[in-house]
């Protein structure tokens, strides 16, 4: 019961933040609320026993993500054009919600020990982490050893994203700096 209380209150807090973020027109406030959203979401992950995910969400979502959003806001207008409620998207969202709700009823109950997901490879990972790998944190051993390929691909994705951003925005390494300096000197000589 207390589990229900904690989860329900945290998710309703998240819903409150999300609705407020949707309604506000000052993007500065929206970005701040999305930072708060990440922090509360990370708390929910702790309550759901996913401590590693909570760690990542707090560091990434609340830290780097909102800093990048703020850096973006310094370059684009920080005020949203006011909009009225769009009915077609609202209807679409409601229809999707209904479909998902119907689909979710087929899932095993929340927290069920006998759910299929807990009886497939997870017990082997938990056992193997102690016996074969000798690392108490099962998430680390699955991440780096059992599913090492995934993590390799994921590292390459981050690498690619960094290259993409550097190509799109540019100016990180500044190869032309010396050129400008020498040109400026030349110009000064001309002027003098």
């Amino acid at each position: 019961m207390s589990g229900f209380l904690v989860n329900a209150s945290l998710i309703s807090l998240l819903t409150l933040i999300a609705i407020l973020a949707l309604r506000l027109h000052r993007l500065f406030a929206v970005v701040m609320l999305s930072g708060a959203f990440s922090l509360v979401a990370a708390t929910l992950f702790v309550v759901l026993d996913a401590v590693d995910v909570a760690f990542t969400e707090a560091a990434v979502g609340a830290g780097i993500s909102s800093i990048l959003a703020l850096a973006t806001l310094s370059l684009v207008p920080a005020e949203e054009k006011p909009h009225s409620i769009a009915f077609v998207p609202a209807f679409l969202a409601l229809a999707t919600a209904l479909m998902l709700a119907v689909a979710v009823t087929d899932l095993p109950a929340f927290g069920d020990v006998n759910a299929p997901i807990h009886n497939h490879v997870a017990p082997e990972f938990i056992k193997g982490s102690a016996e074969d790998i000798g690392i108490p944190n099962v998430v680390t051993s699955v991440l780096a050893s059992y599913r090492g390929y995934d993590t390799l691909g994921e590292t390459v994705v981050i690498f690619t994203a960094a290259i993409a951003v550097l190509l799109v925005l540019g100016g990180y390494t500044r190869p032309h700096r010396r050129k400008i300096k020498s040109r400026k000197k030349g110009e000064d000589k001309n002027a003098g």
Binding site: L22, S34, L48, V51, V53, P77, E80, I117, N137, A164
Partner: protein
């Protein structure tokens, strides 16, 4: 009904997910869209993590006690990866927004579409003029 009562967490997460979804498809401002995408993405993560939860279990960090129940570590690993990939793609999205603003002077969807259509019309007129003169 008993099955419905067991899935309350999923219903709550779906409600949250749809707010993010609505923000992505309804709002014209691109920064708002990105924030909506973040909300959407985070609630998908919550759905996954909810599936890995075990009642009376604890976090999948071994305690040495063989009786302990652990949450399923597999969704945690997948979502850990997804979060970091998510921030990388978000960064690319923001970079593109900055470039769009520098080129067109707006980050509102409808204005942008109008400008692009006007540009296209101009281009096609130029093309027609060239072919006629030739």
């Amino acid at each position: 009904m008993s099955s419905l009562a067991g899935q309350w967490n999923y219903f709550l997460v779906i409600a949250l997910m749809m707010i993010g979804f609505y923000a992505v498809i309804a709002r014209g401002n691109m920064v708002k869209k990105m924030v909506g995408l973040t909300i959407f993405q985070t609630s998908v993560f919550m759905l996954y993590i909810s599936m890995g939860k075990v009642s009376n279990g604890t976090a999948p960090i071994l305690t040495g006690d063989p009786q302990t129940l652990y949450a399923n570590p597999l969704p945690h690993v997948l979502i850990l990866t997804a979060i970091v990939v998510g921030v990388a793609t978000t960064a690319v999205g923001y970079a593109l927004i900055i470039r769009v603003y520098e080129s067109y002077g707006t980050i509102e969807d409808d204005e942008l579409i109008k400008m692009i259509e006007a540009e296209d019309a101009e281009d096609s007129e130029d093309m027609n003029g060239e072919t006629q003169s030739a």
